[in-house]
Symmetry: C2
Subunit: 368 residues, 2 copies
């Protein structure tokens, strides 16, 4: 078992980590468990949490309404339940969608307002204790301060709060479908890749991001047993730290626009769809791109074409063969442009070069 304190979060990592939940429920009478429809049950995490709560005679209610690409409405609904029923603590059991929703609702419950206000800059005044049980090896949300919600067709990421306590038990990720395992790992990779190619990068972000890329490069192509899952979950966790220190930019901006337009597009899948050509443009301007791609693929990539090819080859190696055209069409490109250069402008300003509309269209065209 590994214990870490990073920023405001105390994190437990390893098998049976959730047993330590009992040390963090002191004084709580009733808590709300936030989950999606399937993975909290399928993974066994919900049962493990329930056992601890029953053992300590803490009352609880399960709110299992969170969906992938969650909306502000869901966060508002959950916040109202927490507020009206006077829960003492929120326990999120899931991936990024679940943890992000719980973050926002835990704030609204004590600070008022609606989720969309926070997407537009309202500051959190107070928030309920939040415990996160992470079920993916991609989100990083268990250790970062970010949440992403969808309002209408727009997906917006905000800096809102850290979980107080988080648990990363790799055995819960053994039940992830294999395509989801690839998607979520690609999410972790882009947390690292974008962190290290942002204007805000620093030596610690480099240390973390290179390690993330090395671990993913070594373990994602393998059949994933517990050993590989443990390494991938660790990589995802430190990618969350890197992201927290130096936030994402172009690739996440475009993906948020895409999965805002088509909520059936899983986040990590969207990143993979456009990632190779986005890397082409970022690589032209950021030295660190070569470094992290070398860590991922073991290849020396100098030219932007080589960088793009190295990443495409890696995706092939891990069995990712989808195309952007499976989810959106050329008709949607104008709307993507409007969102990326409108509400998500703050994301693309995080690189040290001017990201243009032409670059965006080139990425989309080359990903179809």
């Amino acid at each position: 078992m590994m214990e870490l304190r990073y920023a405001n979060t105390k994190l437990y990592f390893g098998l049976k980590a959730v047993e330590r939940l009992r040390d963090h429920l002191n004084g709580f009478e009733n808590v709300v468990l936030v989950t999606g429809k399937h993975s909290a049950r399928l993974s066994g995490a919900l049962k493990d949490v329930e056992e601890v709560l029953k053992d300590l005679e803490v009352e609880y209610k399960v709110f299992d309404e969170v969906v992938p690409n969650p909306t502000t409405e869901i966060a508002d609904e959950l916040a109202e339940i927490i507020w009206r029923d006077g829960y003492d603590c929120v326990i999120a059991i899931g991936g990024g969608s679940v943890i992000d929703t719980a973050k926002v609702s835990s704030v609204i419950a004590l600070s008022g307002g609606r989720a969309r206000d926070y997407l537009r800059g309202k500051r959190a005044k107070r928030y309920l204790p939040l415990i996160a049980v992470n079920l993916t090896h991609g989100t990083g949300s268990e250790i970062d301060r970010f949440a992403v919600l969808t309002e209408g067709r727009e997906k917006i990421g905000i800096s809102i709060r850290y979980p107080d306590v988080s648990f990363d038990d790799p055995k819960y990720t053994l039940t992830l479908p294999s395509c989801q395992a690839v998607y979520t790992t690609i999410d972790a990779f882009f947390h690292a890749y974008e962190a290290v190619t942002a204007k805000t990068t620093n030596p610690f972000v480099e240390t973390l991001s290179c390690e993330v890329a090395r671990i993913i490069g070594e373990n994602l192509p393998k059949d994933q047993g517990l050993e590989e899952k443990t390494k991938l979950m660790y990589a995802s966790m430190i990618a969350g730290m890197a992201l927290d220190l130096s936030p994402a930019h172009i690739v996440h901006a475009i993906e948020h626009a895409l999965s805002g337009i088509n909520p059936k597009l899983p986040h990590g899948c969207g990143l993979a769809l456009i990632g190779a050509r986005a890397i082409y443009w970022i690589h032209k301007h950021c030295e660190n791109s070569a470094k992290i791609l070398r860590c991922l693929t073991g290849r020396e990539v100098r030219l932007a074409e080589e960088a793009e090819k190295a990443f495409r080859d890696f995706l092939m190696e891990v069995g990712f063969v989808e195309r952007l055209g499976d989810y959106v069409g050329r008709d949607d490109f104008k709307e993507v442009e409007r969102i990326v250069f409108g509400p998500l402008r703050y994301l693309i300003s995080r690189v040290n070069f001017e990201f243009t509309r032409e670059m965006l269209h080139d990425i989309l065209e080359n990903s179809l």
Copy 2:
């Protein structure tokens, strides 16, 4: 400029980091600056701190009595000054000796007792705000919770408190004499090496420690300008995190005994003197030893003899040619044994094998 939050410490890293001191002095009327005799002045750090204090009209007093291998008496004396004169905050400007003394005194000032009580297990109830301006690339004390003090002939390390705010500005290390630069870097290396070979190691400690070894291996043998100093100071800082997560053991235990007996022995020098043969024994029992030595030297070392030789060669490469016999003699070995297997027993129990008296004598004999 890099900003990090680790455990209870907010850390600023980079040139002119100390300018950010002004953000952390709110509400303080009078502070005490703790330094040694030379480096705080020579490096320019004292002047930089004084400028901020004068600018904000905060009163201050300089306590410049801290010596290398500081004693409990010095910590007690400083604590009494802080308490009687009612200072609001302690600012330590120096290396490990200065920061460690300030840690202990900041506790005694509000929790009572004497330094020796804390060495024997007394717990800190309260402590004054502590700000650390680190002047070495070795200590790690600016980001860890440890302090080491000498009582009589015994040097004891304790877990006592984190600084609240720390500053790592590499330009302050440009005035370190070159032998000190080697000593302090070897200290950082052993923080990483011992952390990763302790029972308490974990994946994050491995990530940090391998990076420490890589950076030291690449930069210590070079002539050190600001670029190399920046990298070495960064390595030292993350080695401090590794140490905080997984504390030191055999090499530090023996060194504490040696410099307890001869306070003229600089800590990092003592580690270098016995390090190669200590590595020989640790390498036999800890897989991670090969990994970190590969990061340091670029060499694949399998046998313990190869590990010892690789480290000896590295010391030669960086110009370290001293021998243990320059500081202690065979007559002292019984006393070293008494201290290592007596008051420092808790340190040698941190490895996954039984460290014997025979191993200790072998290390000492082979280092003479």
